[in-house]
Protein backbone atom coordinates (compact mmCIF):
# COMPACT_ATOMS: atom_id res chain seq x y z
CA UNK A 1 0.00 0.00 0.00
CA UNK A 2 2.79 2.35 0.86
CA UNK A 3 6.24 2.49 -0.61
CA UNK A 4 8.97 5.10 -0.60
CA UNK A 5 6.66 8.02 -0.01
CA UNK A 6 5.93 9.02 3.53
CA UNK A 7 2.30 9.91 3.98
CA UNK A 8 1.06 13.07 5.58
CA UNK A 9 -0.45 11.31 8.60
CA UNK A 10 2.83 9.49 9.10
CA UNK A 11 4.69 12.80 9.06
CA UNK A 12 2.27 14.25 11.58
CA UNK A 13 2.67 11.23 13.82
CA UNK A 14 6.46 11.35 13.51
CA UNK A 15 6.43 15.06 14.24
CA UNK A 16 4.25 14.61 17.32
CA UNK A 17 6.37 11.82 18.76
CA UNK A 18 9.52 13.85 18.04
CA UNK A 19 8.03 16.72 20.02
CA UNK A 20 7.15 14.34 22.88
CA UNK A 21 10.72 13.04 22.99
CA UNK A 22 12.28 16.47 22.76
CA UNK A 23 10.04 17.76 25.54
CA UNK A 24 11.24 15.00 27.81
CA UNK A 25 14.72 16.44 27.68
CA UNK A 26 13.92 20.10 27.44
CA UNK A 27 17.31 21.39 28.56
CA UNK A 28 19.21 19.06 26.31
CA UNK A 29 16.96 19.75 23.33
CA UNK A 30 17.37 23.46 23.87
CA UNK A 31 21.14 23.27 24.21
CA UNK A 32 21.31 21.15 21.07
CA UNK A 33 19.27 23.61 19.06
CA UNK A 34 21.28 26.47 20.56
CA UNK A 35 24.20 25.52 18.34
CA UNK A 36 22.05 25.85 15.24
CA UNK A 37 20.44 28.97 16.65
CA UNK A 38 23.79 30.70 16.98
CA UNK A 39 24.81 29.51 13.54
CA UNK A 40 21.65 30.80 11.90
CA UNK A 41 21.84 33.97 13.93
CA UNK A 42 25.36 34.69 12.75
CA UNK A 43 24.59 33.90 9.11
CA UNK A 44 21.39 35.95 9.05
CA UNK A 45 23.01 38.84 10.89
CA UNK A 46 26.01 38.86 8.59
CA UNK A 47 23.74 38.85 5.55
CA UNK A 48 21.59 41.56 7.10
CA UNK A 49 24.57 43.77 7.83
CA UNK A 50 26.18 43.09 4.46
CA UNK A 51 22.91 43.91 2.77
CA UNK A 52 22.50 47.00 4.91
CA UNK A 53 25.94 48.23 3.95
CA UNK A 54 25.16 47.59 0.30
CA UNK A 55 21.84 49.41 0.53
CA UNK A 56 23.50 52.27 2.33
CA UNK A 57 26.20 52.72 -0.31
CA UNK A 58 23.69 52.25 -3.11
CA UNK A 59 21.42 54.78 -1.49
CA UNK A 60 24.28 57.27 -1.38
CA UNK A 61 24.75 57.00 -5.10
CA UNK A 62 21.11 56.75 -6.01
CA UNK A 63 20.17 59.85 -4.05
CA UNK A 64 21.96 61.74 -6.76
CA UNK A 65 19.75 60.42 -9.52
CA UNK A 66 20.15 57.54 -11.91
CA UNK A 67 20.86 59.49 -15.07
CA UNK A 68 24.09 60.84 -13.77
CA UNK A 69 27.58 60.89 -15.20
CA UNK A 70 30.58 61.59 -12.98
CA UNK A 71 33.73 63.13 -14.36
CA UNK A 72 36.66 62.56 -12.09
CA UNK A 73 40.37 63.20 -12.42
CA UNK A 74 42.60 60.15 -12.76
CA UNK A 75 41.79 56.90 -14.46
CA UNK A 76 38.68 56.62 -12.39
CA UNK A 77 36.48 54.33 -10.45
CA UNK A 78 36.00 51.38 -12.72
CA UNK A 79 39.26 51.49 -14.63
CA UNK A 80 41.86 51.93 -11.95
CA UNK A 81 40.33 49.63 -9.40
CA UNK A 82 39.27 52.25 -6.90
CA UNK A 83 38.31 55.80 -6.30
CA UNK A 84 40.92 58.26 -7.38
CA UNK A 85 39.62 61.57 -6.24
CA UNK A 86 40.92 65.07 -6.43
CA UNK A 87 44.58 65.74 -6.03
CA UNK A 88 45.74 62.62 -7.80
CA UNK A 89 49.14 63.38 -9.23
CA UNK A 90 49.00 63.60 -12.98
CA UNK A 91 45.24 63.76 -13.05
CA UNK A 92 43.33 66.50 -14.78
CA UNK A 93 42.45 69.62 -12.81
CA UNK A 94 39.03 70.68 -14.02
CA UNK A 95 38.12 74.32 -14.10
CA UNK A 96 35.58 76.76 -15.45
CA UNK A 97 36.74 76.16 -19.01
CA UNK A 98 35.65 72.50 -18.84
CA UNK A 99 32.23 73.51 -17.59
CA UNK A 100 31.86 75.84 -20.54
CA UNK A 101 33.05 73.12 -22.92
CA UNK A 102 30.63 70.62 -21.51
CA UNK A 103 27.68 72.99 -21.80
CA UNK A 104 27.93 72.42 -25.53
CA UNK A 105 27.37 68.65 -25.26
CA UNK A 106 23.83 67.82 -26.38
CA UNK A 107 21.33 66.10 -24.11
CA UNK A 108 22.65 67.46 -20.85
CA UNK A 109 20.16 68.38 -18.16
CA UNK A 110 22.52 69.92 -15.63
CA UNK A 111 26.23 70.40 -14.97
CA UNK A 112 27.53 70.68 -11.44
CA UNK A 113 31.16 71.47 -10.70
CA UNK A 114 31.96 70.24 -7.22
CA UNK A 115 34.57 71.43 -4.77
CA UNK A 116 34.56 69.80 -1.41
CA UNK A 117 36.49 70.75 1.70
CA UNK A 118 36.18 69.58 5.28
CA UNK A 119 36.15 72.61 7.56
CA UNK A 120 35.08 73.82 10.97
CA UNK A 121 32.01 76.00 10.66
CA UNK A 122 31.30 78.61 13.32
CA UNK A 123 28.06 80.37 14.11
CA UNK A 124 25.92 81.26 17.07
CA UNK A 125 28.92 80.83 19.37
CA UNK A 126 29.38 77.20 18.40
CA UNK A 127 31.65 75.43 15.97
CA UNK A 128 30.94 72.17 14.21
CA UNK A 129 32.69 69.97 11.72
CA UNK A 130 31.18 70.06 8.24
CA UNK A 131 31.79 69.89 4.54
CA UNK A 132 31.85 72.98 2.45
CA UNK A 133 30.50 72.03 -0.94
CA UNK A 134 31.21 74.53 -3.65
CA UNK A 135 28.46 73.94 -6.18
CA UNK A 136 26.09 75.82 -8.46
CA UNK A 137 22.31 76.09 -8.24
CA UNK A 138 21.89 72.98 -10.41
CA UNK A 139 23.38 70.87 -7.60
CA UNK A 140 20.07 71.01 -5.78
CA UNK A 141 18.35 69.54 -8.78
CA UNK A 142 20.96 66.78 -8.79
CA UNK A 143 20.67 66.04 -5.08
CA UNK A 144 16.93 66.54 -5.26
CA UNK A 145 17.25 68.94 -2.32
CA UNK A 146 14.29 70.81 -0.84
CA UNK A 147 14.33 73.41 1.87
CA UNK A 148 12.51 73.46 5.17
CA UNK A 149 13.22 77.18 5.56
CA UNK A 150 14.50 79.96 3.31
CA UNK A 151 15.37 79.21 -0.30
CA UNK A 152 17.99 77.55 -2.46
CA UNK A 153 20.37 79.48 -4.70
CA UNK A 154 18.72 81.29 -7.56
CA UNK A 155 20.15 80.73 -11.02
CA UNK A 156 22.25 83.86 -10.94
CA UNK A 157 23.41 83.47 -7.36
CA UNK A 158 24.62 79.91 -7.89
CA UNK A 159 27.20 81.03 -10.40
CA UNK A 160 28.06 84.27 -8.64
CA UNK A 161 30.66 84.98 -6.00
CA UNK A 162 27.94 85.85 -3.48
CA UNK A 163 28.84 84.85 0.09
CA UNK A 164 25.67 82.93 0.72
CA UNK A 165 25.11 79.41 2.00
CA UNK A 166 22.48 76.68 2.19
CA UNK A 167 22.93 74.51 5.28
CA UNK A 168 22.38 70.79 5.45
CA UNK A 169 19.84 69.82 8.09
CA UNK A 170 22.30 68.36 10.61
CA UNK A 171 24.74 71.24 10.25
CA UNK A 172 21.91 73.72 10.90
CA UNK A 173 20.62 71.69 13.81
CA UNK A 174 24.02 71.57 15.48
CA UNK A 175 24.64 75.26 15.07
CA UNK A 176 21.20 76.66 15.79
CA UNK A 177 19.40 73.84 17.64
CA UNK A 178 16.22 74.64 15.72
CA UNK A 179 17.43 74.25 12.13
CA UNK A 180 14.88 76.72 10.79
CA UNK A 181 16.40 79.53 12.82
CA UNK A 182 19.57 79.30 10.75
CA UNK A 183 18.05 81.31 7.93
CA UNK A 184 19.36 84.87 7.94
CA UNK A 185 22.24 84.04 10.29
CA UNK A 186 25.89 84.23 9.43
CA UNK A 187 28.22 81.23 9.42
CA UNK A 188 32.01 81.53 9.38
CA UNK A 189 34.72 79.27 8.13
CA UNK A 190 38.28 79.90 6.93
CA UNK A 191 37.89 83.54 7.91
CA UNK A 192 34.99 83.97 5.52
CA UNK A 193 31.49 85.02 6.46
CA UNK A 194 28.51 83.52 4.65
CA UNK A 195 24.91 84.46 5.03
CA UNK A 196 22.55 81.50 5.37
CA UNK A 197 19.72 81.77 2.83
CA UNK A 198 18.19 78.36 3.28
CA UNK A 199 18.20 75.12 5.28
CA UNK A 200 17.77 71.80 3.48
CA UNK A 201 15.43 69.09 4.66
CA UNK A 202 16.89 65.96 6.24
CA UNK A 203 18.21 63.51 3.62
CA UNK A 204 19.51 60.69 5.79
CA UNK A 205 22.89 60.96 4.10
CA UNK A 206 25.47 62.15 6.67
CA UNK A 207 27.58 63.90 4.05
CA UNK A 208 24.72 65.87 2.56
CA UNK A 209 23.12 66.59 5.92
CA UNK A 210 26.29 68.07 7.38
CA UNK A 211 27.15 70.01 4.22
CA UNK A 212 27.37 73.74 3.84
CA UNK A 213 26.53 74.52 0.23
CA UNK A 214 28.06 77.69 -1.17
CA UNK A 215 28.31 79.03 -4.73
CA UNK A 216 31.46 77.46 -6.12
CA UNK A 217 32.92 80.78 -7.21
CA UNK A 218 32.48 82.25 -3.72
CA UNK A 219 35.39 80.20 -2.39
CA UNK A 220 37.73 80.94 -5.27
CA UNK A 221 40.86 82.37 -3.75
CA UNK A 222 40.07 81.19 -0.25
CA UNK A 223 39.25 77.50 0.05
CA UNK A 224 39.85 76.95 -3.65
CA UNK A 225 42.83 79.10 -4.61
CA UNK A 226 43.53 77.21 -7.84
CA UNK A 227 39.94 77.53 -9.01
CA UNK A 228 39.76 73.82 -9.80
CA UNK A 229 37.05 71.26 -9.18
CA UNK A 230 37.08 67.99 -7.32
CA UNK A 231 34.67 66.56 -9.87
CA UNK A 232 32.07 67.54 -12.39
CA UNK A 233 28.67 65.86 -12.31
CA UNK A 234 26.45 65.76 -15.37
CA UNK A 235 22.78 64.97 -15.53
CA UNK A 236 21.38 63.50 -18.71
CA UNK A 237 17.92 64.50 -19.88
CA UNK A 238 16.97 61.12 -21.25
CA UNK A 239 18.32 57.84 -19.95
CA UNK A 240 18.46 56.47 -23.51
CA UNK A 241 21.00 59.13 -24.42
CA UNK A 242 23.29 58.25 -21.55
CA UNK A 243 25.80 56.32 -23.63
CA UNK A 244 25.86 58.96 -26.35
CA UNK A 245 26.29 61.81 -23.86
CA UNK A 246 29.06 59.93 -22.12
CA UNK A 247 30.85 59.42 -25.44
CA UNK A 248 30.43 63.06 -26.44
CA UNK A 249 31.68 64.15 -23.02
CA UNK A 250 34.79 62.03 -23.34
CA UNK A 251 35.48 63.42 -26.81
CA UNK A 252 35.03 66.97 -25.62
CA UNK A 253 37.45 66.47 -22.72
CA UNK A 254 40.01 64.60 -24.83
CA UNK A 255 40.67 67.84 -26.71
CA UNK A 256 42.24 69.18 -23.55
CA UNK A 257 43.31 66.18 -21.46
CA UNK A 258 45.00 62.86 -22.04
CA UNK A 259 42.93 59.71 -21.82
CA UNK A 260 44.38 58.63 -18.47
CA UNK A 261 43.92 62.01 -16.85
CA UNK A 262 40.22 61.77 -16.35
CA UNK A 263 37.40 59.31 -16.22
CA UNK A 264 33.77 59.55 -17.23
CA UNK A 265 31.64 57.12 -15.27
CA UNK A 266 27.95 56.37 -15.33
CA UNK A 267 26.09 55.96 -12.10
CA UNK A 268 25.01 52.48 -13.19
CA UNK A 269 28.62 51.39 -13.66
CA UNK A 270 29.42 52.40 -10.12
CA UNK A 271 26.30 50.68 -8.87
CA UNK A 272 27.16 47.45 -10.62
CA UNK A 273 30.67 47.56 -9.21
CA UNK A 274 29.27 48.23 -5.75
CA UNK A 275 26.89 45.33 -6.24
CA UNK A 276 29.71 43.05 -7.29
CA UNK A 277 31.83 43.97 -4.31
CA UNK A 278 29.00 43.40 -1.90
CA UNK A 279 27.90 40.16 -3.45
CA UNK A 280 31.39 38.82 -2.89
CA UNK A 281 31.46 40.29 0.60
CA UNK A 282 28.14 38.61 1.35
CA UNK A 283 29.41 35.26 0.15
CA UNK A 284 32.46 35.57 2.37
CA UNK A 285 30.27 36.50 5.33
CA UNK A 286 27.94 33.57 4.68
CA UNK A 287 30.93 31.25 4.50
CA UNK A 288 32.22 32.52 7.83
CA UNK A 289 28.79 32.20 9.43
CA UNK A 290 28.44 28.71 8.03
CA UNK A 291 31.29 27.51 10.19
CA UNK A 292 29.15 27.98 13.27
CA UNK A 293 26.29 26.18 11.52
CA UNK A 294 28.65 23.29 10.89
CA UNK A 295 29.63 23.22 14.55
CA UNK A 296 25.95 23.27 15.51
CA UNK A 297 25.29 20.38 13.15
CA UNK A 298 28.06 18.32 14.70
CA UNK A 299 26.50 19.06 18.10
CA UNK A 300 23.22 17.64 16.85
CA UNK A 301 24.91 14.53 15.53
CA UNK A 302 26.69 14.01 18.83
CA UNK A 303 23.49 14.28 20.86
CA UNK A 304 21.53 12.10 18.45
CA UNK A 305 24.13 9.35 18.79
CA UNK A 306 23.77 9.57 22.57
CA UNK A 307 19.98 9.51 22.22
CA UNK A 308 20.09 6.39 20.07
CA UNK A 309 22.25 4.57 22.61
CA UNK A 310 19.92 5.65 25.39
CA UNK A 311 16.88 4.36 23.60
CA UNK A 312 18.05 1.03 22.23
CA UNK A 313 15.45 -0.76 24.32
CA UNK A 314 12.69 1.48 23.00
CA UNK A 315 13.87 0.81 19.45
CA UNK A 316 13.72 -2.91 20.18
CA UNK A 317 10.16 -2.65 21.51
CA UNK A 318 9.04 -0.65 18.50
CA UNK A 319 10.65 -3.14 16.15
CA UNK A 320 8.98 -6.05 17.98
CA UNK A 321 5.53 -4.56 17.55
CA UNK A 322 6.09 -4.02 13.85
CA UNK A 323 8.17 -0.89 13.19
CA UNK A 324 10.29 -1.26 10.08
CA UNK A 325 13.83 0.04 9.76
CA UNK A 326 12.46 2.95 7.81
CA UNK A 327 10.03 3.78 10.63
CA UNK A 328 12.90 3.94 13.11
CA UNK A 329 15.10 5.89 10.70
CA UNK A 330 12.40 8.46 10.09
CA UNK A 331 11.64 8.75 13.80
CA UNK A 332 15.19 9.75 14.67
CA UNK A 333 15.61 11.82 11.55
CA UNK A 334 12.48 13.74 12.41
CA UNK A 335 13.85 14.46 15.86
CA UNK A 336 17.09 15.91 14.59
CA UNK A 337 15.23 17.92 11.93
CA UNK A 338 12.84 19.32 14.53
CA UNK A 339 15.70 20.25 16.89
CA UNK A 340 17.54 21.85 14.02
CA UNK A 341 14.53 23.71 12.66
CA UNK A 342 13.72 24.90 16.14
CA UNK A 343 17.23 26.33 16.36
CA UNK A 344 16.87 27.85 12.92
CA UNK A 345 13.57 29.45 13.83
CA UNK A 346 14.90 30.83 17.11
CA UNK A 347 17.98 32.15 15.34
CA UNK A 348 15.79 33.82 12.76
CA UNK A 349 13.53 35.41 15.36
CA UNK A 350 16.49 36.72 17.35
CA UNK A 351 18.22 38.08 14.29
CA UNK A 352 15.03 39.84 13.19
CA UNK A 353 14.79 41.42 16.64
CA UNK A 354 18.43 42.49 16.54
CA UNK A 355 18.02 43.89 13.03
CA UNK A 356 14.97 45.87 14.16
CA UNK A 357 17.16 47.49 16.83
CA UNK A 358 20.14 47.99 14.51
CA UNK A 359 17.88 49.70 11.98
CA UNK A 360 17.82 52.77 14.20
CA UNK A 361 21.46 53.32 13.31
CA UNK A 362 22.04 51.42 10.14
CA UNK A 363 19.84 50.21 7.27
CA UNK A 364 20.36 46.48 7.97
CA UNK A 365 17.77 44.23 6.40
CA UNK A 366 16.59 40.64 6.72
CA UNK A 367 15.65 39.52 3.25
CA UNK A 368 14.04 36.43 1.77
CA UNK A 369 17.44 34.92 1.14
CA UNK A 370 18.30 35.10 4.83
CA UNK A 371 14.99 33.53 5.84
CA UNK A 372 15.35 30.81 3.23
CA UNK A 373 18.90 30.08 4.36
CA UNK A 374 17.86 29.99 8.00
CA UNK A 375 15.08 27.48 7.41
CA UNK A 376 16.45 25.40 4.55
CA UNK A 377 19.96 25.17 5.91
CA UNK A 378 18.88 24.33 9.44
CA UNK A 379 16.45 21.72 8.11
CA UNK A 380 19.18 20.40 5.85
CA UNK A 381 21.63 20.22 8.73
CA UNK A 382 19.05 18.26 10.71
CA UNK A 383 18.80 15.74 7.89
CA UNK A 384 22.51 15.61 7.13
CA UNK A 385 23.78 15.27 10.67
CA UNK A 386 20.78 13.26 11.85
CA UNK A 387 20.95 10.61 9.19
CA UNK A 388 24.02 8.84 10.58
CA UNK A 389 22.66 8.34 14.12
CA UNK A 390 19.25 7.50 12.68
CA UNK A 391 20.79 4.85 10.45
CA UNK A 392 22.55 3.41 13.43
CA UNK A 393 19.22 3.19 15.25
CA UNK A 394 17.50 1.62 12.27
CA UNK A 395 20.15 -1.00 11.70
CA UNK A 396 20.07 -2.38 15.24
CA UNK A 397 18.96 -6.01 15.14
CA UNK A 398 15.57 -6.06 16.91
CA UNK A 399 16.47 -9.06 18.98
CA UNK A 400 19.58 -7.41 20.41
CA UNK A 401 17.84 -4.11 20.91
CA UNK A 402 14.99 -5.58 22.93
CA UNK A 403 17.36 -7.53 25.17
CA UNK A 404 19.50 -4.45 25.80
CA UNK A 405 19.53 -3.23 29.37
Amino acid sequence: MKSAIVSQTEIIHLFKSAIVDLKRNKVRSFLTSLGIMIGVLSVVMLIALGLGLKNYIKGQFESMGANMIMILPGSGFTGGGGFSGAGVVGGAEFDERDVTTLRRVRGIDYIVPVTMKAVTVEANGKDVFGYVMGVNDEAFKMFNTKTIAGSLFSKGAGTSQAKIAVLGYTAAEKLFTNPKEGVGQVVRFSDQRFKVVGVAEKKGDPEQDSAVYVPYKSIYGSLNPKKTFWAIYLGVKDEKQLTQVKKDTEEALLKRYKEDDFSVTEQSEILSTVNQIFNILNLVLIAIGSISLLVGGIGIMNIMYATVTERIKEIGIRRAVGATRKDILLQFLMESVVVSLLGGLLGLIFSILIVLVVRFFFPAAVNGLAVAIALLVSGGIGVFFGVFPARKAASLPPIEAIRYE
Binding site: M1, K2, H13, V20, D21, R24, K313, E314, G316, I317, R318, R319, A320, V321, G322, A323, T324, R325, K326, D327, P398, I399, I402
Partner: protein, 228 residues
Protein backbone atom coordinates in the same frame (compact mmCIF):
# COMPACT_ATOMS: atom_id res chain seq x y z
CA UNK B 1 -3.28 -28.48 7.99
CA UNK B 2 -4.25 -25.61 10.20
CA UNK B 3 -0.96 -24.79 11.82
CA UNK B 4 -0.22 -21.17 12.57
CA UNK B 5 3.47 -21.78 12.90
CA UNK B 6 5.47 -24.65 11.59
CA UNK B 7 9.21 -25.10 12.07
CA UNK B 8 11.03 -27.45 9.75
CA UNK B 9 14.55 -28.51 10.67
CA UNK B 10 15.26 -25.16 12.21
CA UNK B 11 18.78 -24.52 13.43
CA UNK B 12 20.17 -21.34 14.91
CA UNK B 13 23.85 -21.16 15.53
CA UNK B 14 26.28 -18.44 16.34
CA UNK B 15 29.95 -18.16 17.00
CA UNK B 16 31.51 -17.65 20.37
CA UNK B 17 35.01 -16.82 19.28
CA UNK B 18 36.13 -19.79 17.17
CA UNK B 19 33.53 -22.15 18.53
CA UNK B 20 30.18 -22.62 16.81
CA UNK B 21 27.30 -22.83 19.27
CA UNK B 22 23.94 -24.32 18.30
CA UNK B 23 21.35 -22.45 20.32
CA UNK B 24 18.66 -24.35 18.50
CA UNK B 25 19.41 -27.41 16.40
CA UNK B 26 17.14 -29.25 14.02
CA UNK B 27 13.82 -28.45 15.61
CA UNK B 28 10.61 -29.58 13.99
CA UNK B 29 7.36 -28.50 15.51
CA UNK B 30 4.04 -27.07 14.59
CA UNK B 31 1.63 -25.00 16.58
CA UNK B 32 -2.01 -25.27 15.63
CA UNK B 33 -4.60 -22.57 15.51
CA UNK B 34 -6.34 -21.84 18.79
CA UNK B 35 -3.74 -23.84 20.65
CA UNK B 36 -2.72 -23.05 24.22
CA UNK B 37 0.78 -24.36 24.55
CA UNK B 38 3.93 -23.89 26.58
CA UNK B 39 7.56 -24.24 25.70
CA UNK B 40 9.38 -25.43 28.77
CA UNK B 41 13.11 -25.34 29.16
CA UNK B 42 15.79 -24.32 31.57
CA UNK B 43 17.89 -21.26 31.18
CA UNK B 44 20.26 -21.71 28.24
CA UNK B 45 18.14 -24.43 26.68
CA UNK B 46 17.49 -22.36 23.60
CA UNK B 47 13.84 -21.70 24.36
CA UNK B 48 14.20 -17.94 24.06
CA UNK B 49 16.00 -18.23 20.74
CA UNK B 50 13.21 -20.52 19.60
CA UNK B 51 10.59 -18.03 20.72
CA UNK B 52 12.30 -15.18 18.90
CA UNK B 53 12.26 -17.20 15.71
CA UNK B 54 8.62 -18.17 16.16
CA UNK B 55 7.93 -14.48 16.74
CA UNK B 56 9.77 -13.48 13.55
CA UNK B 57 12.22 -11.39 15.52
CA UNK B 58 15.08 -13.62 14.51
CA UNK B 59 15.69 -15.82 11.51
CA UNK B 60 17.09 -19.33 11.51
CA UNK B 61 20.58 -20.20 10.30
CA UNK B 62 19.06 -23.09 8.43
CA UNK B 63 15.67 -24.72 8.12
CA UNK B 64 12.33 -23.18 7.33
CA UNK B 65 9.64 -21.42 9.28
CA UNK B 66 6.09 -21.30 7.97
CA UNK B 67 3.55 -18.79 9.14
CA UNK B 68 0.11 -19.83 7.89
CA UNK B 69 1.96 -22.19 5.53
CA UNK B 70 3.94 -19.33 4.03
CA UNK B 71 7.70 -19.77 4.14
CA UNK B 72 9.00 -16.71 5.89
CA UNK B 73 12.69 -17.56 5.83
CA UNK B 74 13.14 -15.64 2.61
CA UNK B 75 11.22 -12.54 3.60
CA UNK B 76 12.89 -9.15 3.85
CA UNK B 77 13.27 -7.27 7.10
CA UNK B 78 10.38 -4.97 6.15
CA UNK B 79 8.09 -7.88 5.33
CA UNK B 80 8.96 -9.56 8.62
CA UNK B 81 8.19 -6.31 10.47
CA UNK B 82 4.79 -6.15 8.83
CA UNK B 83 4.12 -9.80 9.63
CA UNK B 84 5.01 -9.24 13.27
CA UNK B 85 2.73 -6.25 13.28
CA UNK B 86 -0.20 -8.16 11.83
CA UNK B 87 0.14 -11.63 13.24
CA UNK B 88 2.20 -11.73 16.42
CA UNK B 89 1.70 -10.20 19.85
CA UNK B 90 4.55 -10.27 22.34
CA UNK B 91 4.39 -10.34 26.12
CA UNK B 92 7.76 -10.12 27.83
CA UNK B 93 9.05 -10.88 31.27
CA UNK B 94 10.24 -7.27 31.61
CA UNK B 95 6.87 -5.95 30.32
CA UNK B 96 8.82 -3.80 27.83
CA UNK B 97 6.45 -0.88 27.86
CA UNK B 98 7.71 2.52 26.74
CA UNK B 99 7.78 4.62 29.87
CA UNK B 100 7.37 8.00 28.23
CA UNK B 101 4.06 6.93 26.72
CA UNK B 102 0.87 6.55 28.71
CA UNK B 103 -0.81 3.20 29.13
CA UNK B 104 -3.22 3.98 26.30
CA UNK B 105 -0.42 5.21 24.01
CA UNK B 106 1.55 2.04 24.69
CA UNK B 107 -1.42 -0.12 23.79
CA UNK B 108 -2.07 1.63 20.46
CA UNK B 109 1.62 1.78 19.48
CA UNK B 110 1.48 -1.26 17.14
CA UNK B 111 -1.39 0.37 15.25
CA UNK B 112 0.93 3.27 14.38
CA UNK B 113 3.05 0.90 12.37
CA UNK B 114 0.38 -0.91 10.42
CA UNK B 115 0.57 -0.86 6.64
CA UNK B 116 -2.95 -2.10 6.09
CA UNK B 117 -6.32 -0.55 6.67
CA UNK B 118 -7.66 -1.50 10.09
CA UNK B 119 -11.23 -2.73 10.52
CA UNK B 120 -11.34 -1.14 13.98
CA UNK B 121 -10.48 2.11 15.68
CA UNK B 122 -7.26 1.50 17.67
CA UNK B 123 -8.13 3.88 20.50
CA UNK B 124 -11.59 2.42 20.90
CA UNK B 125 -10.27 -1.14 20.84
CA UNK B 126 -7.49 -0.24 23.28
CA UNK B 127 -10.05 1.21 25.68
CA UNK B 128 -12.21 -1.89 25.40
CA UNK B 129 -9.24 -4.12 26.17
CA UNK B 130 -8.18 -1.97 29.11
CA UNK B 131 -11.76 -2.07 30.45
CA UNK B 132 -11.84 -5.78 30.09
CA UNK B 133 -8.52 -6.12 31.92
CA UNK B 134 -9.72 -3.88 34.71
CA UNK B 135 -7.13 -1.13 34.15
CA UNK B 136 -9.20 1.39 32.18
CA UNK B 137 -8.85 3.88 35.04
CA UNK B 138 -5.08 3.69 34.57
CA UNK B 139 -5.21 4.53 30.85
CA UNK B 140 -3.56 7.93 31.25
CA UNK B 141 -0.94 6.75 33.73
CA UNK B 142 2.66 6.20 32.79
CA UNK B 143 3.83 2.58 33.10
CA UNK B 144 6.26 3.29 35.94
CA UNK B 145 3.36 4.61 38.04
CA UNK B 146 1.38 1.37 38.01
CA UNK B 147 2.03 -2.05 39.52
CA UNK B 148 3.84 -4.88 37.76
CA UNK B 149 0.64 -6.86 37.35
CA UNK B 150 -1.04 -3.85 35.78
CA UNK B 151 1.96 -3.29 33.51
CA UNK B 152 1.79 -6.86 32.30
CA UNK B 153 -1.92 -6.41 31.55
CA UNK B 154 -1.05 -3.37 29.51
CA UNK B 155 1.52 -5.47 27.67
CA UNK B 156 -1.14 -8.11 26.99
CA UNK B 157 -3.50 -5.43 25.71
CA UNK B 158 -0.74 -4.14 23.44
CA UNK B 159 -0.13 -7.68 22.20
CA UNK B 160 -3.82 -7.99 21.34
CA UNK B 161 -4.49 -4.62 19.76
CA UNK B 162 -3.78 -5.76 16.20
CA UNK B 163 -5.95 -8.89 16.59
CA UNK B 164 -2.99 -11.22 16.10
CA UNK B 165 -3.22 -14.92 15.44
CA UNK B 166 -0.64 -15.75 18.03
CA UNK B 167 0.51 -14.39 21.34
CA UNK B 168 4.03 -15.21 22.43
CA UNK B 169 4.59 -14.78 26.14
CA UNK B 170 8.20 -15.02 27.27
CA UNK B 171 8.24 -15.79 31.01
CA UNK B 172 5.18 -13.57 31.45
CA UNK B 173 5.04 -14.23 35.18
CA UNK B 174 8.78 -14.03 35.79
CA UNK B 175 8.68 -10.57 37.32
CA UNK B 176 5.44 -10.99 39.24
CA UNK B 177 4.52 -12.51 42.55
CA UNK B 178 2.70 -15.83 42.31
CA UNK B 179 -0.77 -14.37 42.86
CA UNK B 180 -0.37 -11.70 40.18
CA UNK B 181 1.36 -14.28 37.97
CA UNK B 182 -1.66 -16.53 38.29
CA UNK B 183 -3.94 -13.67 37.34
CA UNK B 184 -1.92 -13.05 34.18
CA UNK B 185 -2.04 -16.73 33.34
CA UNK B 186 -5.81 -16.72 33.91
CA UNK B 187 -6.07 -13.77 31.61
CA UNK B 188 -4.07 -15.44 28.85
CA UNK B 189 -6.05 -18.66 29.25
CA UNK B 190 -9.37 -16.88 29.03
CA UNK B 191 -8.22 -14.97 25.97
CA UNK B 192 -7.35 -18.24 24.31
CA UNK B 193 -10.71 -19.72 25.18
CA UNK B 194 -12.82 -16.74 24.30
CA UNK B 195 -11.10 -15.32 21.24
CA UNK B 196 -9.32 -18.38 19.93
CA UNK B 197 -5.98 -16.63 19.76
CA UNK B 198 -3.07 -19.06 19.85
CA UNK B 199 -1.13 -18.57 23.05
CA UNK B 200 2.43 -19.77 23.45
CA UNK B 201 3.97 -19.50 26.90
CA UNK B 202 7.73 -19.77 27.16
CA UNK B 203 8.80 -20.63 30.69
CA UNK B 204 11.18 -22.56 32.87
CA UNK B 205 8.54 -23.21 35.53
CA UNK B 206 6.76 -26.54 35.43
CA UNK B 207 3.75 -25.19 37.31
CA UNK B 208 3.21 -22.53 34.73
CA UNK B 209 3.69 -24.98 31.88
CA UNK B 210 1.34 -27.41 33.56
CA UNK B 211 -1.51 -24.96 33.14
CA UNK B 212 -1.37 -25.12 29.35
CA UNK B 213 -3.04 -27.85 27.34
CA UNK B 214 0.19 -28.95 25.70
CA UNK B 215 3.86 -28.69 26.53
CA UNK B 216 6.97 -28.78 24.42
CA UNK B 217 10.16 -29.58 26.26
CA UNK B 218 13.42 -28.05 25.09
CA UNK B 219 16.88 -29.09 26.16
CA UNK B 220 20.20 -28.17 24.58
CA UNK B 221 18.40 -26.69 21.63
CA UNK B 222 16.40 -29.79 20.86
CA UNK B 223 12.84 -30.90 21.46
CA UNK B 224 12.86 -33.73 23.97
CA UNK B 225 10.11 -36.04 25.19
CA UNK B 226 10.46 -35.32 28.85
CA UNK B 227 11.43 -32.34 30.90
CA UNK B 228 14.20 -33.18 33.29
Amino acid sequence: MSSVIRLQDVTKSYFLGEEEVHAVSGINLSIQKKEYISILGSSGSGKSTLMHMIGLLDSPTSGKIFLNDQDISKLSDDELSMMRNNNVGFVFQQFNLINKFTVLENVILPAKYTRSKLDFDPVQRAEELLKRFGIYDRRNFYPNKISGGQQQRVAVARALIMKPQIILADEPTGNLDSKTGDEIMDLLESLNKETGVTVVIVTHEREIAARTRKQIFIRDGKVVDKYL
